[in-house]
C-alpha cells in the first residue's frame, strides 16, 4: 500500500479497564505493518498505558507494556506523550517504559496540525 498520508493516532484511555487500549494498540501495530506514516500521541489517562512494570497476568490480560516495547519492530517511531497529563498524574518520565518524547499541550497542537487524519482512541 503506498501512501503519503500522515496518520495521527491519539490515545486517551486507561489500559486495562476495557479492551479499548488493547484494540487501539492492535490498530496501531496493524497500521505500522501496512506501512502507514504514523504518529502516536498519548495524553490524558492514555499516559497510564506507558507505565513501566505492568504485570497484567493476574488480571488475565496481555501486557500493554511488552507490546509497546515492540513499536520499533513495527516501524512505529514517532511516539509523543503529553507532559501536562504526566504532571497532573504525578508521573515522572523515568517511570515510563518507552522513551516517548514529552511535549507540552502547545507542542502537541503543532504535531496534530501536521497530520492528515486522526484516529481517536
Amino acid at each position: 500500500m503506498t501512501s503519503s498520508k500522515k496518520i495521527g493516532i491519539t490515545l486517551g484511555h486507561t489500559p486495562y479497564g476495557s479492551d479499548l487500549a488493547q484494540e487501539a494498540l492492535d490498530a496501531t501495530l496493524a497500521m505500522g505493518l501496512f506501512g502507514q506514516d504514523i504518529t502516536l500521541i498519548f495524553w490524558g489517562d492514555g499516559v497510564f498505558q506507558l507505565l513501566k512494570s505492568q504485570n497484567s497476568e493476574s488480571v488475565h490480560q496481555k501486557s500493554l507494556e511488552k507490546q509497546i516495547n515492540a513499536f520499533e519492530l513495527y516501524d512505529i517511531e514517532r511516539v509523543f506523550v503529553c507532559a501536562q497529563s504526566l504532571e497532573q498524574r504525578n508521573i515522572s518520565t523515568s517511570s515510563l517504559c518507552t522513551d516517548a518524547e514529552c511535549l507540552s499541550p502547545t507542542e502537541i497542537q503543532k504535531v496534530l496540525s501536521t497530520q492528515d487524519t486522526l484516529l481517536s482512541f
Binding site: 486517551g12 495524553w43 490524558g44 499541550p105 496534530l112 496540525s113 492528515d116 487524519t117 486522526l118 481517536s120
Partner: protein
C-alpha cells in the same frame, strides 16, 4: 482552510474529563462540537463554561432537545446545529478529534 481541528465531545462534563481534555488541546482556530451527553457542556454555569465561551462552539440541537435542555440557561454563543451542518463542519476542518 481557516480552521484546523473539529473536536467532538460526547460525554457530560459533570462526570467525565472529555471536555476538559478537549479545551486543553484546542487551538484558537479549532472548533468544538457537543453531541450526545456532551451537550450538558452547553449549560451556563459549570466550571468549564468560561473557558468554553472563548472557543467557537456548536451543539447538536436534537441532543439538547432530547434531554430537556432547550429551556435551560445555555452558554449564549453556542450555535445549535443538525447533522447536515455537522457534516459541513467536518469538511471545513482539516481534522476531527473525537473525545469520548
Amino acid at each position: 482552510m481557516s480552521h484546523s481541528i473539529l473536536h467532538t465531545v460526547n460525554q457530560s462534563p459533570f462526570t467525565h474529563s472529555a471536555l476538559q481534555q478537549c479545551l486543553c488541546y484546542a487551538q484558537e482556530s479549532d472548533s468544538i462540537l457537543l453531541l450526545e451527553n456532551g451537550v450538558y457542556g452547553a449549560l451556563l454555569k459549570h466550571s468549564l463554561a468560561d473557558k468554553l465561551s472563548g472557543k467557537k462552539c456548536y451543539a447538536i440541537e436534537a441532543d439538547l432537545k432530547a434531554r430537556g435542555l432547550l429551556g435551560q440557561e445555555l452558554t449564549p454563543h453556542i450555535e445549535l446545529i443538525d447533522f447536515i451542518y455537522f457534516v459541513e463542519l467536518t469538511t471545513q476542518h482539516k481534522l476531527v478529534q473525537s473525545w469520548y
